[in-house]
Amino acid sequence: MLGFIKKDLFVVKGNLKTLLMVIILYGIMIYMGEMDILFVIPFFSMLFMLTTFNYDNYNKWDLYAVSLPNGRKNTVRSKYLTSIIGIVLSLVVGAILEMIIKNTPFKEAIDMSLAIIFGISLVISILYPVIFKLGIEKARIFIFVLAFALALIGGLIIKFINLDFNLDLSFLKDYVNYILLLLTFIILLISYKISSIIYSKREM
Amino acid sequence: MEIIISNSSEIPIYEQIAGQIKSKILSFELKEKELLPSIRSLAKDLRCSVITTKKAYEELEKDGFVSMVPGRGVYVSKINRELALEEERKKIEDLMEEIIVIAKTNNILESELKEIFSILWEAK
C-alpha cells in the first residue's frame, strides 16, 4: 500500500508547476483578504487528490494496479490514507499561517480546523464510494451535483441554527471538538468500508 | 560451434540442428565428453523454441551421439565412428533403393539417373 501512496505523491510532484502557480495565485488573494486561508489550503489538497484519480484513469492505472499484489485493497486504502494525510498536513500549514498572518488565537485556529476537517471528510466520504463505483469519469457529474447540494444544505443549516437552536446547542460547546473528531472518524471509516466492498467487486 | 538455421527450408528446424551437430561430431569438431550448450541457452542463441532444441537433442540421444544428464547438461557420447558412418551409408542405400524403384516403374534409364545425380551433386 505504501507503494500506491508514493504513486499519488509522485503524481502531485509531477504537477508541481501547477501546484506552485495555484499557491502563488491564492497567496495573493489571501494577502488581499479575499480568501480564507484555513479553508483554501485543505480544499486544494482535496482537489489535488481528485486530480490523481484523473491521472490514474487516463493511463488505466486502476487496471494495472489490480495486477499487482493486493491491488484492489491497496488502491482503496491508499486513496483514503493519502487524502487524510494531505488534509491534515495542509490544515497544519493553514493553521500556522492563519495564526501568523491574521493573529488568530491558537484555540480558535484549532476549532476552525476541526470544523473544516469534518466538512472535507464528509465530502470525501460521500464522493469516494461513488468514484470507486462509477470511475472518476462518470462520477464527475455527481461531484458537481454534490458540490452544489452541499453548498445549499450548508447555507440552510447555518440559517437554521442561527434561528432556533442557538441557545439549545450551547451546552455542547465544550465537547464540540471531540464530537466532531469522533464523527469525522466514524464517517470516514464507514465510507472506507463501503468503498472496499464496492471496489472488491468492481469490473474493469 | 556454428549452427545455421534456415526458416524457409522444408527440413524441420530440430532436424537441421540435430544434423549439423551430428556432422560436427562425425568430423571430430566436437569431441567426446565435450559439454554442449543447454537446451535453453541453445534455444536462446538460435532464437527458436525450447521444444525445438529439446527435440533435436532427443533425436541425437536416440542415435547415440549425445547423452543428456539431468541437472548436468548434454555431453557428446563416445561413438563408434565407423559404425555411425555405416549407419549413414545404410540410410543412403535405403533412399537410393527408393529412387531405383521409382525409376524402374517409369522406365527411366540408369544413365539418366547418373546424369541427374551428377548435376545435383555439382549444384550442392
Binding site: V11, N15, N59, Y64, S67 | S8, K44, R47, S49
Partner: protein, 282 residues
Amino acid sequence: MENVICIENLEKKYDNFTLKINHLEVPKGMIMGFIGENGAGKTTTIKAILDIIKNYKGEIKLFDSVNKEKAKEDIGVVLDEAFFPEILSPKDINMVMKSSYKNWDQEMFYKYLKQFNLPEKSQIKTFSKGMRKKLEIITALAHHPKLLILDEATSGLDPVGRREVLDLFQEFMQKEENTIFLSTHITTDLEHIADYITFIDKGEIIFTKMTSELLEDYGIVKSSREEFKSIDKKDIVCYIEEKYDVEMLVSNKKSFKKKYDFVSIDKVSLEELMVLMIKGVK
C-alpha cells in the same frame, strides 16, 4: 507436466460477446503464444486470469492455487494500454514497485533502463510508443517473476525493438521454472520462440498445439476449382475460394501429398493459418 495456468469451464457473458473456455493449460517452463483476431477474447481471458474482471463462471488456478493474490507476487504483467500515470518517471516507478513487490530488484531495473536507453528521470509522457512498451516490459521483469503474462507486449515496437524484447524473453526463459503466456496479433514473433500456440476465435479456444507441429505438419494447398472438386473434404481443415484459385489448409502435408500428388503444398505461416481458420469454410 505441471501447469502454471489452468482454466476450467470459464464463462463470461457480455451483451454482445461471450467468452467460453472449457479448458486451457499453460505448461511450466514453456512459452505459449495466444493468438486470435482483435475482439476474439484474448484480453478478456487475460483480464479474467488476473482478476481484473470478476463475475465469471468456472475456475482459474495459478501455480495450482485459486488464491490469486498470493500468486501475483510471482507474476509479471504487461497489459494492453494500462500502466502507470504518464506523469511518473522510471525513477518514480522504481520507488513505487520497491514497496509493492517483495522481490523487486532495483539494480536489475536500472540495468535494463540503461540497456534500453530509457532516461530514468523523464516523465513517461515524453517517451515514444516503443520506449513505453520497453519500460512496461522491464517493469514486468524486475521482480523476478515466475510467470509473465503479456497482452500485446510487442505491438508498437519496431523490428529492432521487437528483437531486443524477444531476446529478453528468451533470457527470462533460461530459468527452467519460468513460463510466458503472451497474446499477440503479430504472429511472426511467435513462430520462432513459442513452444505452444493457443488459437482463440469468437470467444472459444479452437486449438492448443505445439508450434513445431503446426509449422511442420500443416500446409497450404492452392489448386484450381477443377482439382478442388476431386479432393475429399475430409482431408482438409478448411478452404477459401478465391478469385483465381482455391486455398486449402491441410493438417498433414505428407499424407496429403501422397494421396493427391497433383497439387503443390507450401509451408504455412501462423498468419496464413489464422486467416484461413477464421475466414475459411470448414
